[in-house]
């Protein structure tokens, strides 16, 4: 079980990440950013980057590192601040988010930013990359590193996700961890209304995966799930709230991708500070 000190360290990091997401969104002006699905994934990243990841900030290509693949690339705005918590990038770089020439794009790209294994943005491709990476690590006899692939629940509409899921089951990749950020809302509305994938757990089990279902905002549950080691690929189905932490954004599909007025920004900051 995760110890209390680590839990509270991760919880503090999650608060900072959430605050940075609000600042980054506001700084994009009228362009806006994918705020809803970034706020839902915060604890999942805080738990990994502060609690569990094998990574050496001074040696980004260290063979023993865990590989992180953000298949739901639009949550990059949560990934970058999480990487700040792990010392992979400097906090000051967050100011460049989505600016011309920045390394911090709206979706991750291979542009020299440490800690980014693959570009993403075209949904449904990350799990295949994860399967390939896991097979490659096994060929290298690297039995220490794990591959963490973060998907959205809406993303799982893509057929290519299930091609990859089948192959992970086939090759019995116990070094693969998929995390589905199940915020239950996609671009056009509730996932149950747009494309109901239930029973979701059964689908993964039937493809040969171990399944852990958690509250994706409970750091304790997140850390315990990351500690799980089994013989198969693991999927963590993390129930989350889109727009988590900001009252007017929570479960509001209009905040999938949105900008913030000064008034709304100030309200969001106020709510986050009250929570601290």
């Amino acid at each position: 079980m995760a110890d209390r000190d680590l839990i509270s360290k991760c919880e503090d990091a999650a608060k900072r990440i959430r605050r940075r997401i609000i600042d980054m969104t506001y700084a994009t002006g009228s362009t806006g950013a994918h705020i809803g699905g970034s706020l839902s994934i915060v604890e999942l990243f805080a738990g990994l980057y502060v609690g569990k990841i094998r990574y050496m900030a001074d040696d980004p290509n260290w063979e023993g590192r865990d590989r992180v693949i953000l298949s739901k690339g639009h949550a990059a705005m949560a990934l970058y601040p999480a990487m700040v918590e792990a010392g992979i990038i400097d906090e000051s770089e967050l100011e460049s988010f989505k600016k011309d020439g920045s390394r911090l794009g709206g979706h991750p790209s291979l542009n020299g930013l440490p800690g980014i294994e693959f570009a993403s943005g075209s949904l449904g491709q990350g799990l295949s990359l994860g399967v390939g990476t896991c097979l490659a690590l096994k060929r290298k006899n690297n039995n220490d590193s794990r591959v963490f692939v973060y998907l959205g629940d809406g993303e799982c509409d893509e057929g290519s996700v299930w091609e990859a899921a089948a192959s992970a089951g086939h090759y019995i990749l116990n070094n693969l961890v998929a995390i589905v950020d199940m915020n239950a809302i996609q671009y056009d509305g509730y996932t149950t209304e747009i494309m109901d994938m239930s029973p979701f757990e059964n689908k993964w089990r039937d493809f040969g995966w171990d399944v852990i279902t958690i509250n994706g905002h409970s750091i304790e549950e997140v850390l315990n799930a990351y500690d799980y080691r089994g013989d198969k690929s693991l999927v963590i189905l993390a129930h989350t709230v889109k727009g988590k932490g900001i009252s007017f954004m929570e479960n509001n599909w209009k905040y999938h991708n949105a900008s913030l007025s000064k008034a709304l920004y100030e309200q969001a900051v106020e709510e986050l500070e009250a929570a601290i």
Binding site: A119, Q125, L127, L135, A136, R139, S160, H170
Partner: protein, 324 residues
Amino acid sequence: MIEYNKRNIRTWSLLGPSGAFGTAALELAETKPDMVMLTADLCFFSGLERFKAAYPDKLYNLGIAEQNMIGVAAGFAKEEFIPFANTYASFCASRCADQVRVNMSYMNLPIKLIGLTAGYGAGILGATHMSIEDISFMRALPNITVISPADCMEIIKVVLAVANTPDPTYIRLTGPMNSPIVYKEDYDFQIGKAVKLAEGDEVCIIATGSMVYQAMQTAKLLEAEGVSCSVLNMHTIKPLDIENVFEANEKHMLLVTAEEHSIIGGLYSTVLEALSKEGTHKPILPIGIRDTFVHAGSYSYQMQESGLTAESMKIKILERLQNL
């Protein structure tokens, strides 16, 4: 070590493009420890039977799931393996279009993608298995090298050569089993460097893939008609050997492009684009597949229907020469 002798050249020709690919793959497995081979349920069709028997742990058969295969190949490439992946050319270019675009082109990951039965190689199965637009798609993508070997020996040379480059590469295999031999003996192959196979001074046929052999036959037929004809094997379509294209333009009255591919976006477009940047150029006659799907049928039937035979090319070239 593969020996480029007359006996082997004949054997590779009998085996056809897939058999030649399989031969090269076996050689790579022996010489390149980091090479891995991926297929999408086409292990035997792609000539990998011996490979599978000798190196079962290097072969990853991803089943009938081509898009996943490209992603898995990208994972291997990122971890510094040399992944070769194969499927029908039509599936390389169109079914996996986004995976190819994101993983090979955008991320510049050195996947070596083999397009089997490009053109009409599987045309008996209908338009779903024809691949007449793959060059057009692949060459529009940054970073990807596009190669179309002329015969079975060249396939082997290409496969061995691309394993030594850091570039994502698409190799389209054209031609039937018992494939015509262009090269009767060993020669120097370099990616991006066209090969002059015949030298004349009136017409130059710039050909790629299966059409190189047809171009050589055409040159002989034209010779009998008193027309002097050069043949240039443009095996690499991207990056194009611009120097040789310019030289051909300078030295001849008529240029002809020949490809087992749509005339939209393929070799014809590539050559025309390169020359038009320089201002005026000699007339160019495109020999290729017109903008339609030919009815399912045998390879020879479809080549004839599309005018991709030496006899048909000769007639078109003579007509064009008369109207210069």
